[in-house]
Amino acid sequence: MNEVVSKRTNRGKGLRPVLGFLNDWGIVLAILALVLFFATTAPTFLQGTNLINILRSISIVTIIAIGLTVSLTVNGFDLSVGSTATLASSFVVSFFVWYSLPLGVSIGLALLLSLSVALVNILLIVWFKIPDLFATLATMFIVEGVAMTYTGGGSISAGMPRLDGTPTVGTIPEAFAKISQAPWIIVIMLVVVAVTHVFLSHTRHGRFLYIIGGNPEAARLTGIRVNRYRALAYLIAGLLAAIGGILLASQVGSSQINAGSGYLMPAVAAAFIGSSFAGQGKPNALGTLVGACLVGILENGLVMLSVPYYSLNIIKGLVLAVALATTYARYRKK
């Protein structure tokens, strides 16, 4: 949707420079304000362990949101990232517990199989020309159902018999649980952000993705293989969602029903909040990281202030609404 969040334009006299500054750096200011607020109201907030905690907790959201960001660059939208994460987490845990496959094989196979979701998306969007939002809405439900059917409608954890009563002997390797510990999960997140940033902002492939998002017809008549690049964007989105799902499985130590679906909304929020970061005016990897930080800090701080978890969605939803409102208000003015 980078057509919508198009770049800021001329800055005239009076209030405009101020508004422009707020627009470009508003998220950073918001983060600083939140940190200040929580630091004064919840004394443990600024402690090192809590900050690490926040980074850990946003890692999965960030990785999934980065995938979503890539789909946004081509003016697409991948709603199926959450259920792709669920599917990947079911696969990887089942490989350990049901089939006792080794670590590398399980992860590799889970990633590979989860990419089939991206292939379905590509088929629907690029081949059948279904608008992105509707196509991925369909795959979101399909994949949710597939994951549930595969696991037999329940969760999978070590020692738990399969639904038909077959006992399981596999265990989840310790090394697998390590991946989601600090610092590894944070390192993985930062690597994903850095690689995607370089890819989007500093390679011609990234340039082409944005060009396609801005004007697919002009892109085609410039000789850019529009369909291939759109397919690539959905592959990347699917791959990162699957990585997010595997990290999720590692964190929880089991596979839960619809575990990934809760990540869709904060990922959308992070990507949209981040699109205005530093005046980029388009979906971008660094902005998404910053957006995820904002969402993560908000969530962490509110929990510390003893806001019940079931009320958090209200606040997160509001943050998303505000992020979208600012993005689209700018577009309307133009």
Binding site: K7, T203, R207, I211, N215, A219, R220
Partner: protein, 502 residues
């Protein structure tokens, strides 16, 4: 419609946008029954002035009077109530495609309260039929608008303006997308409306037309009214001079063609064009003439591999090539500057630099596989200078440039890829007179660098000025070939209207 005599007068209208004084003390008037031309280069302020009159913008200073009585027009609704309406250039924006002709025509009646509560289809249809009848337009009121041709949509839009009582009608470049036959039908409609007592303001870039249909003319430049004349009192050359603020220089055509063919097409056919045989020599500018719908755009797109030829042979630089898709065409050395500039030619939201390097992006990748931003900016500024693109910075968004400068960017994109054949489809569409000259000069320069140019246009005078040789298309075929020096507008038109056909 009323037949009384009205006099609309705008006095000392000024309007500033951030950074630009769009209108400076402009006075303008038009009377019932008059067809008044409003001309000016792009950016002269004519559209802004008409926006003020039709309520889309509100002036900072100045008055608008009808028969001496001061009016307050602050919204399109005010203007419509007074009886002033604007027929937009972009007809598709103003109509609702999936509603019927009748529903579209009656749209304003719903919003102004004439039709309230339950409105029967029959009333719609009746009002719409009446309005279309005054235009003598043969359009079924039950058709959905999306199924109409452009010219028909325009008539629907005019009918929509006429379904209410109107005193003044503004037509913003109504003929730009029309064929000659459609234009002459539009003219008879406009004349009839004027006879019925409507005052008409007619905006157009085509001076010839204005002399055909208008009574008087106002010329604007740089936000100011330069002069007002009866059209019988001013020559075409003088109008152009006043629009430009300088004398029009004609491009001196130099012989530069060299006998080697850069492009040879033999009996090529696809669903849109049939049996195309043509050649372009290095350094030659070859015109593709034809009316709207003759297949010019389709031929251009076929050559660019967008709607590939199914049969026949294409040689570029003597090598046979299969142009299956745009990538193949680019690799073979063909570039296309498409007709719909904003939709197909440029990347509106991207910078000038990114636009210029888009087709040649692989040349700006360093050994790490990353884009070399500095090299990109350097080369872009060099080309900006060479092409005479007026920008403050290569990082400026292309969408902010004038039509002429956008077109230079669209052309420049291919010069970085070093194409040997450049196909231009209506390159001066929506470009003002001054920028047209720049584009002609640019094309001449390219020909001197031994590029082969195919130049498709429905502007006859342009073909005669710019090209060395012309192919005329009719109904998807090439029906005539001639040296430009040996032909005339009349001859071209004869073939373009199917005159050579048995």
């Amino acid at each position: 419609m009323t037949s009384t005599n009205h006099h609309l007068k705008m006095t000392r209208i000024s309007l500033a946008f951030p950074g630009v004084q769009a209108l400076k003390q402009v006075s303008f008037e038009v009377k019932s029954g008059e067809i008044h031309a409003l001309v000016g280069a792009n950016g002269a302020g004519k559209s802004t002035l008409m926006k003020v009159l039709s309520g889309a913008e509100t002036a900072d200073e100045g008055t608008i009077r009808l028969d001496g009585k001061e009016l307050s027009i602050t919204s399109p609704r005010d203007a419509k109530q007074i009886g002033i309406d604007l027929v937009q250039q972009e007809v598709d924006v103003a109509l609702v495609p999936y509603l019927t002709v009748a529903e579209n025509i009656c749209l304003d009646l719903l919003t102004d309260g004439t039709m309230t509560g339950f409105v029967s289809q029959r009333r719609y249809i009746q009002r719409a039929k009446e309005a279309l009848a005054t235009l003598q337009a043969d359009i079924s009121v039950k058709t959905r608008v999306k199924e109409l041709r452009l010219a028909e949509k325009q008539l629907v839009l005019i009918a929509r303006a006429l379904v209410q009582e109107r005193r003044f009608l503004i037509l913003d470049e109504p003929t730009a997308p029309l064929s000659q036959a459609e234009t002459s039908h539009l003219f008879s409609v406009v004349r009839r409306l004027a006879e019925r007592g409507l005052g008409i303001i007619f905006i157009s870039h085509r001076l010839q037309e204005l002399y055909e249909i208008c009574d008087s003319i106002s010329i604007m430049r740089d936000g100011q009214l330069i002069s007002r004349h009866a059209l019988t009192d001013i020559a075409k050359e003088a109008v152009v001079e006043q629009m430009l603020g300088r004398q029009l220089t004609t491009v001196a055509k130099t012989s530069r063609a060299n006998a080697t063919n850069v492009l040879t097409v033999k009996s090529a056919t696809n669903a849109d064009v049939r049996d195309i045989t043509l050649t372009v020599q290095a350094g030659e500018v070859v015109g593709i003439a034809g009316l709207v719908g003759a297949g010019k755009t389709e031929l251009c797109k076929a050559l660019f591999g967008d709607r590939p030829f199914q049969e026949g042979e294409v040689q570029i630089g003597g090598v046979t090539r299969r142009l299956r898709n745009p990538q193949a065409a680019i690799q073979a050395g063909i570039g296309l500057v498409p007709e719909e500039r904003r939709k197909e030619g440029i990347l509106v939201a991207d910078s000038v630099a990114e636009n210029l390097t888009a087709a040649a992006a692989h040349d700006f990748v360093n050994r790490w596989g990353l884009m070399d931003r500095r090299k990109e900016a350097d080369q872009a500024s060099q080309w900006v200078k060479e092409l005479g693109i007026k920008v403050t910075d290569v990082k400026q968004e292309v969408g902010q440039l004038s039509g002429g400068n956008q077109q230079k960017v669209a052309i420049g994109k291919w010069l970085l890829t070093d194409v040997s054949v450049l196909v231009l489809d209506e390159p001066t569409k929506g470009v003002d007179v001054g920028a047209k000259q720049d584009i002609y000069r640019l094309i001449d320069g390219l020909a001197q660098q031994q590029k082969g140019i195919l130049y498709a246009t429905s502007e006859w005078d342009e073909l005669l000025t710019v090209t060395d040789r012309i192919y005329v298309m009719f109904d998807g075929r090439i029906v005539h070939e001639t040296k430009t020096a040996d032909t005339s507008e009349e001859t071209l038109l004869w073939y373009a209207t199917g005159g050579g056909q048995r």
